[in-house]
Symmetry: C2
Subunit: 205 residues, 2 copies
């Protein structure tokens, strides 16, 4: 792309570094900003800068937070003895939206993925193991994506926790509610048969 | 969406004001920025702010430019007597990419669209008419989108230019190169028959 303006080119270049945004989309977004009042661009730039410089990670669960201890960890009504291990804040938001979980979280910040150069030391696995060894946790629920990386991460943490006698579980894998059986893949269907639940339980929700 | 952080919520809110970016995408983009070095966010914010505050419109053609007169208008090799009227900088870039045009441009900054509250006074139509009346232009080429708004804008400008005796033309409408005839719509096909060109001309490119 040939730009008539260096300023425009720079803005488009920076914008197109975002995932899923190519040069054309970046140009569309930047031209949109140019048509809007100057305040909108200022607010966007300020919000991004402020977020990047002032955001904290909760010292207990490593969730994104404005304060030293996040809202969930500082809520006395939550059960701190049950810890749900998730990848990032989006998973926390998804589980919170169900309204079914009253325990704490532990945000790893990613999954073990040698292909992307992410090893266990880059994730907050050590603090989790220490929390368990300090005897503060009764149950760990693994809620990572059901992918190779997710399973590897689960297994790595499971191995680290060996000998602590802690209760571990993973969220149930099975056919999505509302899904047709014939379109389910074999692995999911297989697991959903192996891990079948008493019929009474299925009526609880 | 329930956010655990006000800073995060603000950044997502601002980001989701951009066209085609919903809350979920905004969250994904913002979380991506959080994982990248702080410098990337700073550069993005700085580029946007700089663009919005320092960008100029070329005083002759109203194209986006870093200087008082844009690169095209200040190029002595371009034919200033032919002016191609376009909607915005993207159209300038598209026509420049063809390498077929050596004249000047006039960027309107939009199309007349009562539905969006855009009237002739919000576009740079007056300076174009003045330029023509000053006798500096020999031919006007209308290159707006072939929509109701585009045609309305063309016609409005055409009416404003009445009596000046200026030569006006529009870019050719017809079947796209490489397109199957049977899938073309009737209006396009009809126009391409009415405005047929001598066969020798079609072999020039």
């Amino acid at each position: 792309m040939d730009f008539s303006s260096k300023l425009l080119e720079q803005a488009v270049d920076e914008m197109s570094q975002l995932p899923g945004i190519g040069k054309r989309t970046a140009l569309r977004l930047v031209l949109h900003l140019l048509k809007q009042p100057e305040a909108q661009t200022e607010q966007l730039a300020a919000a991004l800068t402020k977020l990047r410089t002032e955001i904290k990670l909760c010292s207990n669960c490593f969730n994104i937070s404005d304060t030293e201890l996040c809202e969930i960890c500082s809520n006395p009504n939550r059960i701190s003895e049950i810890v749900c291990v998730v990848e990032d804040i989006r998973d926390v938001m998804a589980i919170e939206n169900t309204g079914q979980y009253r325990g704490h979280y532990h945000v790893l910040g990613g999954k073990i993925s040698p292909m992307d150069g992410i090893g266990p030391s880059q994730l907050s696995i050590k603090p989790l193991v220490e929390k368990v060894k300090a005897g503060k946790v009764e149950e760990i629920i693994f809620a990572l994506s059901s992918t190779l990386e997710g399973d590897t991460t689960n297994f790595y943490i499971f191995k680290q926790l060996e000998g602590t006698g802690i209760k571990t579980s993973t969220i149930a894998r099975g056919i999505s509610v509302g899904d047709e059986l014939e379109y389910a893949d074999e692995v999911t269907l297989g697991r959903s048969i192996t891990n079948r639940v008493p019929f009474e339980n299925s009526m609880k929700n």
